[in-house]
């Protein structure tokens, strides 16, 4: 019963998605041109690299599904990470990590209240959050990286369960959880309903204010969690971490066919978007393309992917 729905979503994706086509084309191309690309080691490597963006994209996706946007997740990542990292020696890893996540949830809730309850424009709200929270991260660290982190904290970002890197397991678990929430809980249905038609949602008895607020809360919490993973992998928390994070996440979400106006699209598409972005970076590295050029190529690929989508959709009409 359950899997049936998602099969339909996936089938839709295969039929319609230009992004999936681009991903397949890229995988084929890289497998031919590079003999290291299609190896278990490299694939796991890609998955580990995308796991942070996957977590961020899930949060961003649910915000966008309600018709909102959140550009503050990079700043939330940075601030909660530097605070948590700096307290790990005194409070212990677990307490400091939990504190970091609560910071994320708290900032997210402030975003949510401003958008959901006060009815302010999400872009402007999260833009000002982004500026001030990023600023706080600098103030807190005086601009220096926090690198006095206990060594065993590295497990979160670099550890393995069996052969599987832990971040992959964590991000996939969150992905599955999010799928279930969106499809099989009233909260998930409400998210889609609000994005599709907010007035109708209110008139159907949905608590629009609370749902909207919660969505930003969750996004803040996920951003903080992603920040913790990133810090663990680098064994250093820099206040500049995640500068591009919201835009990578938004790119993945939009490439996955989730409409910026809300209410449309599934997380499966977003997953493909995340994988495409990760594969591009990996491929460009394998092909030894200079990192400055990589940015250029990434921008162009995102554009082409959504253009293909658009062309395919308009032909169907």
């Amino acid at each position: 019963m359950w899997y049936k729905f998602d099969l339909k979503d996936i089938a839709n994706l295969v039929r319609k998605s230009g992004v999936l086509l681009a991903l397949i084309a890229l995988v084929v191309f890289l497998s031919i041109t590079s003999n290291v690309f299609f190896t278990t080691h490299n694939i796991l490597n890609i998955l580990r690299q995308v796991s942070v963006n996957l977590i961020l994209s899930i949060g961003t996706a649910i915000v966008i599904l309600t018709g909102g946007i959140d550009v503050s997740i990079g700043a939330i990542m940075a601030f909660s990470a530097v605070v948590a990292a700096s307290l790990m020696n005194s409070l212990g890893i677990l307490t400091a990590s939990i504190l970091g996540i609560f910071i994320g949830l708290g900032i997210g809730t402030m975003n949510g209240l401003a958008v959901g309850v006060l009815g302010l424009e999400p872009f402007v709200v999260t833009l000002s959050t982004m500026l001030s929270i990023r600023g706080l991260a600098y103030v807190y660290t005086k601009g220096y990286p926090v690198s006095d982190i206990p060594g065993n904290y590295a497990f979160l970002g670099s550890g393995y369960v069996g052969f599987m890197p832990l971040p992959i397991l964590l991000s996939i678990s969150i992905f599955i959880l999010a799928l279930i929430i969106l499809k099989y809980t009233p909260f998930g249905r409400h998210i889609y309903a609000i994005g599709d038609n907010e007035t109708a949602a209110r008139l159907s008895g949905i608590n629009v204010k609370m749902t909207k607020t919660l969505v930003y809360t969750i996004n803040g919490g996920l951003a903080a969690f992603a920040g913790l993973i990133l810090v663990s992998r680098l064994i250093s928390a820099v206040p500049t971490v995640g500068m591009n994070a919201p835009f990578d996440a938004i790119a993945a979400v939009v490439m996955g066919g989730i409409s910026l106006s809300g209410g449309k699209g599934s997380l499966w598409g977003m997953l493909i978007g995340v994988l495409l972005l990760g594969t591009i970076s990996n491929g460009l590295n394998l092909l030894r393309i200079q990192s400055f050029w990589q940015e250029v190529v990434r921008g162009i690929v995102i554009f082409i992917a959504i253009l293909i989508d658009r062309l395919r959709v308009s032909k169907r009409l």
């Binding site: 019963m1 099989y184 809980t185 009233p186 249905r189 309903a193 038609n197 109708a200 008139l203 008895g205």
Partner: protein
């Protein structure tokens, strides 16, 4: 003959939308185009106004074959569409809207001469249409009818000889409609040709000269309106006999107790409302736009809270502070503006039906999809919702079926009271009859119904009692045999007070 369409066909994936349609339009006539939703009316109109291209067929204007590939081309040829959903820029003035895109005609030394635009717009409205609207006013402040006149004036500004009106009266009240018809007659006098699309057959007989009926993309009948009866026309449209539209149900149930009661309620221009909804009755609320009849619905569904006065449900005073709160007290609300206030267009029929009722299917925090689907199936079968599957997005359903989905949402909760606002607005004849049947069947189940409507026929055919509102007050409450059309219309205008 000014305009002719020969053998036009159009196919969409899975459906033959138009099949060899021939159509002839004469100067100075009004040609009514009727048919159920999905009969091909919109496709036909879209083809002749250049929005879509036909697969086959030709269009002739004044005897010459023409190509109509874009709306701009259609306009250049003198074919203008006044769309059902008006597309005026609300923040701009009437004159600016009328001459939008034609400003170059009014250039003076490289700048736009607004004064002459205003004069020109005023002349169009006054002389051509005979209506008096301040052209320097923003469109925002105009009534729907006035906005329609602006759209018509805009069409005329392109020297159009063929005007297409798509459901122009859908949101108009009786007097506004009369005003529109006056304008249309004036246009006919000026030798314009008008294609008039409407679901309201009374109007066809009132205003049109020629009718054409489309069914499943084919012309099933055309001729002079004076040669046909309403019953014959209905049969042509639906292709099968429907149950008679007006069932006089006017049963009096004076002894039943009040399920819901408003006592001296005032809010924002609505003053001193007192009435009682009796158990198991269908109570109509009639009135003009702005009479306050929709405010009543908003107050009862917790969208607004009264400034003063009391609302009682089953004798208990209640505070209806939000829709959610009203729902818990057993009230359901089917709003008039289906698209903006009820439908989740990109969600499935299933999700649209159960969205207000998800708690019932929840176990351990998760929705039990099997149970949910079962319920949605049951309700959609009961209401005869036509769809290819319950997972179909609601946007692909016809207006009538969307309206049924909107009603199904509340039925699935088994409420005590259902408020329907303009329940059959903008849906086809057959769906109208079905929605009325649904209202009567709700009554049979003991659900009390409030029907707010500007359609007097509708009120008469389904309601047991009718509240008439004018200018924020209840002017009369009509009961039983008193509910006759004339009385309602006159009471609507506020001439009749305290009829009971």
């Amino acid at each position: 003959m000014i305009f002719e369409v020969r053998n036009v066909s159009k196919r969409f994936p899975g459906v033959q939308a138009l099949d060899s349609v021939n159509f002839v339009l004469k100067k100075g006539t009004i040609h009514a185009l009727v048919g159920e939703n999905g009969a091909g009316k919109t496709t036909f109109v879209n083809i002749i106004s250049g929005i879509i291209r036909p697969d086959k067929g030709d269009i002739y204007l004044k005897g010459k074959k023409v190509r109509v590939n874009t709306p701009a081309q259609a306009r250049m040829l003198g074919i203008s569409l006044v769309p059902q959903i008006l597309n005026l820029c609300q923040d701009m003035t009437v004159a600016e809207n009328i001459y939008m895109g034609q400003e170059q005609k009014f250039m003076h030394k490289g700048l736009i001469d607004w004064k002459s635009i205003n004069i020109s717009a005023n002349r169009l409205l006054k002389d051509e249409l005979g209506v008096d609207i301040d052209v320097t006013k923003k469109v925002m402040g105009l009534t729907v009818a006035e906005q329609q006149f602006v759209e018509i004036a805009k069409a005329l500004s392109f020297e159009s000889s063929v005007l297409i009106l798509d459901e122009p009266t859908a949101t108009l009240t009786e007097p506004e409609k009369e005003r529109l018809f006056k304008v249309l007659r004036k246009l006919v006098d000026k030798e314009k040709a008008i294609i008039y699309i409407s679901h309201r057959l009374d109007e066809v007989f009132e205003i049109a000269d020629i009718y054409m009926v489309l069914r499943n993309g084919r012309v099933v009948g055309t001729g002079s309106v004076s040669d046909i009866t309403k019953e014959k026309l209905v049969t042509m449209i639906v292709g099968e006999t429907v149950k008679t539209l007006s069932r006089k149900s006017l049963v009096q149930k004076p002894n039943k107790k009040c399920v819901l009661e408003m006592r001296n309620v005032s809010f924002d221009g609505v003053r001193d409302l007192s009435f009682c909804l009796r158990e198991g009755e269908i109570l109509g609320i009639a009135g003009l736009i702005g009479s306050g009849k929709s405010v009543v619905a908003h107050l009862l569904f917790g969208i607004n809270t009264p400034d003063t006065g009391q609302i009682k449900i089953m004798g208990e005073p209640v505070v209806l502070s939000s829709p959610n709160n009203a729902m818990r007290l057993g009230i359901g609300f089917v709003p008039a503006d289906r698209l903006h206030q009820a439908m989740f267009l990109h969600r499935s029929v299933l999700e649209n039906i159960t969205i207000a009722n998800l708690k019932r299917f929840k176990r351990f925090g998760l929705i039990k999809v099997g149970k949910e689907k079962e319920k949605a199936h049951e309700v959609s079968q009961r209401l005869e919702i036509k769809m290819s599957s319950i997972r179909e997005d609601v946007m692909y359903l016809s207006g009538g079926n969307q309206q049924k989905v909107s009603i199904a949402r509340w039925i699935s909760r088994t409420p005590r009271i259902i408020i329907l606002e303009e329940p059959t607005q903008g849906i086809d004849v057959k769906a109208k009859a079905q929605v009325r049947e649904i209202m009567l069947s709700l009554q049979e189940q003991g659900i009390s119904v409030i029907a707010i409507s500007s359609d007097v026929d509708e009120i008469i055919s389904v309601c047991d009692r009718v509240i008439v509102m004018f200018d924020g007050r209840i002017t009369s409450i009509l009961e039983g045999g008193e509910v006759i059309k004339d009385l309602v219309s006159r009471a609507e205008l506020g001439r009749y007070k305290n009829v009971v």
